[in-house]
Symmetry: C2
Subunit: 179 residues, 2 copies
């Protein structure tokens, strides 16, 4: 489909190979025969989890995000380990960040977060029938969990207290299910 | 709020200063007194536009995204120029990419796309009362516009033909308005 839009890489420089992301500079041929440069961040991909409690509340996580220099509220999420199955990653991240295990998992969808400059793909899962497991954060990870009703979550979106794309997608998904 | 979560930068290396993004490596102090490294992509921010035609159709744009090595469908969007007002940017990008001018603009919200590694913030606008302007793409930009009904858009989300976070947020927003 639309092969005429394809940009072929004619030269690729790996600028940085990091712990989480890599950065490359591609020189590409354009559909009109010209050339341009594309700065590309490669990311391992991630999962995000809509975790709904027995009381029909949604679990959110406050986390300091260094790129933003502030704490924001998000649904539980985390990066894929190399070769890790997204569902296994979702189970691991939910327990690590919130201490909950879910008995019922539903694969909802996936989406690219920043296709203009990065290949990050997030897999979104719904986790239900929660029970207590063992919270166990990464050694450089500090988070605080809290629970909100769907009505509260709707207000948090409207007043932009929730400011994170994957979390907005998750909450809008629940709101659409309800209506 | 939650200053105890703050990660202070003790050393910052600028790894790459690019045309669109910059990459830095921060060494930070953690809440527990330890240190860690954070790879941070700085991005100028962007706008995205929900453009609704007289026939109540939504305008989508097919565009080749080099990080994904494929064409995906998105709502019209583009990066902020330095110091540019988001609404002015939205007007510019809508006309450049689709050839449409809108008489009625509504500022809907904003969201971070990848807060774990990037500071990109997208401002989302609703554009209505469209009339024809002048399509005028950037010299290295090649796109193809098409229109869908909201029902078609809903199917495109469900079968994951729409795979882009900002576009899913936009479509879910419209679906919630309707219901």
């Amino acid at each position: 489909m639309m092969e005429r839009f394809t940009e072929k890489t004619i030269k690729k420089d790996l600028i940085y190979k990091g712990r989480i992301i890599d950065l490359s500079l591609h020189e590409v041929t354009l559909p009109n025969g010209g050339t341009s440069k594309r700065e590309i961040v490669n990311h391992p991909g991630a999962v995000a989890v809509i975790a709904v409690t027995e009381e029909n509340k949604l679990i959110l996580v406050n986390q300091y995000r260094k790129p933003l220099e502030k704490v924001i509220a998000e649904i539980p999420a985390g990066k894929l380990e190399k070769g890790e199955d997204p569902l296994e990653c979702a189970k691991r991240e939910l327990e690590e960040e919130t201490g909950f295990i879910a008995n019922k998992w539903t694969d909802l969808s996936s989406f690219y977060t920043s296709p203009g400059f990065a290949d990050e793909l997030i897999y979104l899962f719904l986790a239900e029938e929660l029970s207590e497991g063992t919270e166990n954060l990464d050694e450089d990870e500090f988070v605080e969990c809290f629970e909100v009703t769907l009505d509260e979550a709707e207000r948090l979106i409207k007043n932009q207290s929730i400011h994170d794309a994957k979390t907005i997608i998750a909450l809008q998904y629940l709101l659409l299910q309800k209506k």
